[in-house]
Amino acid sequence: MARKAVLEKAAPTNLPFAYRHYDAGQLREVLRKMYLIRRFEEGAEDCYMRGLIHGTMHLSIGQEASAMGICMPLAEDDQITSTHRGHGHCIAKGAEVRKMFAEFFGKTTGYCKGRGGSMHIADVAKGNLGANGIVAGGIPIAVGAALSAKRLKTGKVVVSFFGDGANNEGAFHEALNMASIWKLPVVFVCENNGYGMSTSTARSTAVRNIADRAAAYSMPGVIVNGNSFTEVAEAAHAAIERARTGEGPTLIESKTYRYRGHSKSDRNRYRSKEEIEDWMSNRDPITLFEAELKEFGIIDDSGIEAVREAVRQEITEAIEFAKASPAPDIGDLQNYVYTELA
């Protein structure tokens, strides 16, 4: 509260959106969650390397501001559809990391009771309708959820996350067109990290910016620096308001970068070390956000250390929880295929 007073003394119109719009507690919570996302993924990566987790995973390290900036303006019962690179979205929308780890470990306490793994984590209670193993697969589903919101008059807004690679799928085209003609309360968020697997947008996509395609659906197309929490949040806030008031969809292109390879099988031969290094050193979303928070007096070094420590603790406990949880019973193999009738 004291900090909020400080903020209010500063010239409010010069302050970036997030610092006008959220109070200090909220902003510190954003930082905590950005750390939670990163440490979650580092922890998952570590467990994977040590052979504790099987399958593959797609890490969003470097993209945390985008997930948080989009989800912060969402109400708790607003909904999202996510992607194969969805851990950040999931945590940003309110998931518990222990249930996520438990899912990675294939345990019954996981979000999908061990049936889904990284690529299918969902948290329906918190409005996350699920990651998706199919590129662009979640986009029409989000439009369907927005149709429900409109017809059932729930007031919900739906966000559909997808990558730059997804924008060349037919599903993207069909879904954006329908959302526009029916003026549905949905926000399309393209997290453009420069590559679909190894293929750069320049080699895959006929337009310079994905947002340029918004015009083909008569909806606003907005480009933001996806590594700036406040820029993302500002654009998301406007788009969500627009959706909520019945004016229809928006396409937000959030320009960002992933530090890790596409998945665990990536030899990183399609981009240079320098490029990766540049993003990590000069545009890291957490570093940038911390600097702003300190500049505006919202947190200090010891406060940051406390956040980090709390997150470290939470991750450690979550992994322990996952390890200690029971594995599914082979006898339950047939469960959940069809809805059990009472």
């Binding site: 999908c112 309708l129 193993g133 199919i134 589903i141 369907g144 959820a145 069809y338 809805t339």
Partner: protein, 332 residues
């Protein structure tokens, strides 16, 4: 036929089922191409848009994948969409959403959601629409756990099974043979359901079991009638549901008759009859078999345009008569 029975066409029966469900439940809505003022490519939705408005009888753009996906998303979040494909052939565009999403969503999410979507597929040959508008693809979807797949053969079943499908919490795929749309039959007024997963013994007989699907049920009944005169007594089972299959009814019948003939329109190889045959060959009924299990399915070709070729591509009554006769007489 009791008091409340009227003769309705198969298309009318479907339309009536949809109207009843929409009347009873605000969440039920129809989606599809030209199902509004056009009334649907086969006039199945007819004038429903006038009764329920464009918000509940939604014309979609020509976007089968996206449209199916919208239906899936809507079903996951509180609506009960019924999605009409203009021709089942266009399911080829939407299988991603049907098979990777709708069918698997509940399982992948560990039981946290249900996907109560109904999809309707006008199927089959006989209209001169050639290879891209005449396929029978029910076997594909029958291969997919998480889906229920039905093929009602009569107006009565079309209405009752559709109402069961709408009430079902899981995705139900309905294959409707286009040549059945105009067929009339008794249909009760009001709400009733015909259970998904139960075959129906349409005709009892002792010499041979015919398991038929969709329009082939009628052709098989006609064949049975013809063979009656020759003293051959055929049992005709209407499979009705491809997935989950009603094994018990078929097994019991084969144990009684000791002979099995499967009749279906789809391409013979890997069509529904392959499953019926294999299911029996590994069941307790195997020991009762007195003859090979014979399948009459579609020829191994795309559906041709020329009407004579088209007819020759799928089993006709004389083919069924001949195959049944051969089986019973031991010529096979």
């Amino acid at each position: 036929m009791d008091a409340e029975m009227r003769e309705l066409s198969y298309a009318q029966a479907i339309q009536e089922a949809m109207a009843i469900a929409m009347e009873a439940d605000e969440r039920v809505l129809l989606m599809g191409e030209d199902i509004g003022v056009y009334g649907g490519a086969f006039q199945v939705t007819g004038d429903l848009v006038e009764r329920f408005g464009v918000d509940r009888v939604m014309d979609t753009p020509i976007s089968e994948l996206g449209g199916a996906g919208v239906a899936v998303g809507a079903a996951m979040t509180g609506l009960r969409p019924i999605f009409e494909f203009q021709f089942s052939d266009f399911a080829t565009l939407a299988l991603e959403q049907i098979v990777n999403q709708a069918a698997k969503m509940r399982f992948m999410l560990g039981g946290e959601v249900s996907v109560p979507v109904v999809m309707r597929f006008p199927a089959g040959s006989g209209t001169g629409a050639a290879a891209q508008h005449s396929q029978s693809l029910e076997a594909w979807l029958g291969h997919v756990p998480g889906l229920k797949v039905i093929q009602p053969a009569t107006p009565y079943d079309a209405k009752g099974m559709l109402l069961a499908a709408i009430a079902d919490p899981d995705p139900v795929m309905i294959f409707e043979h286009k040549l059945l749309y105009k067929m009339k039959g008794p249909v009760p007024e009001g709400h009733y359901t015909v259970p998904i997963g139960k075959a129906d013994v349409r005709r009892e007989g002792s010499d041979l079991t015919v398991v038929a699907t969709s329009i082939m049920v009628h052709k098989s009944l006609e064949a049975a009638q013809a063979l009656q005169a020759e003293g051959i007594d055929i049992e005709v089972i209407d499979l009705r549901t491809v997935r989950p299959m009603d094994k018990r009814t078929i097994i019991e019948s084969v144990k009684k008759t000791s002979r099995l003939l499967c009749v279906y329109e789809a391409v013979k190889t890997l069509g529904v009859g392959a499953e019926v045959s294999a299911m029996i060959a590994e069941s307790e009924a195997f020991d009762f078999l007195d003859a090979p299990i014979v399948r009459l399915g579609g020829a191994e070709i795309p559906i041709p345009y020329n009407p004579d070729l088209e007819r020759a591509t799928v089993p006709q009554v004389p083919d069924i008569v001949a195959a049944a006769r051969d089986l019973v007489r031991g010529a096979r």
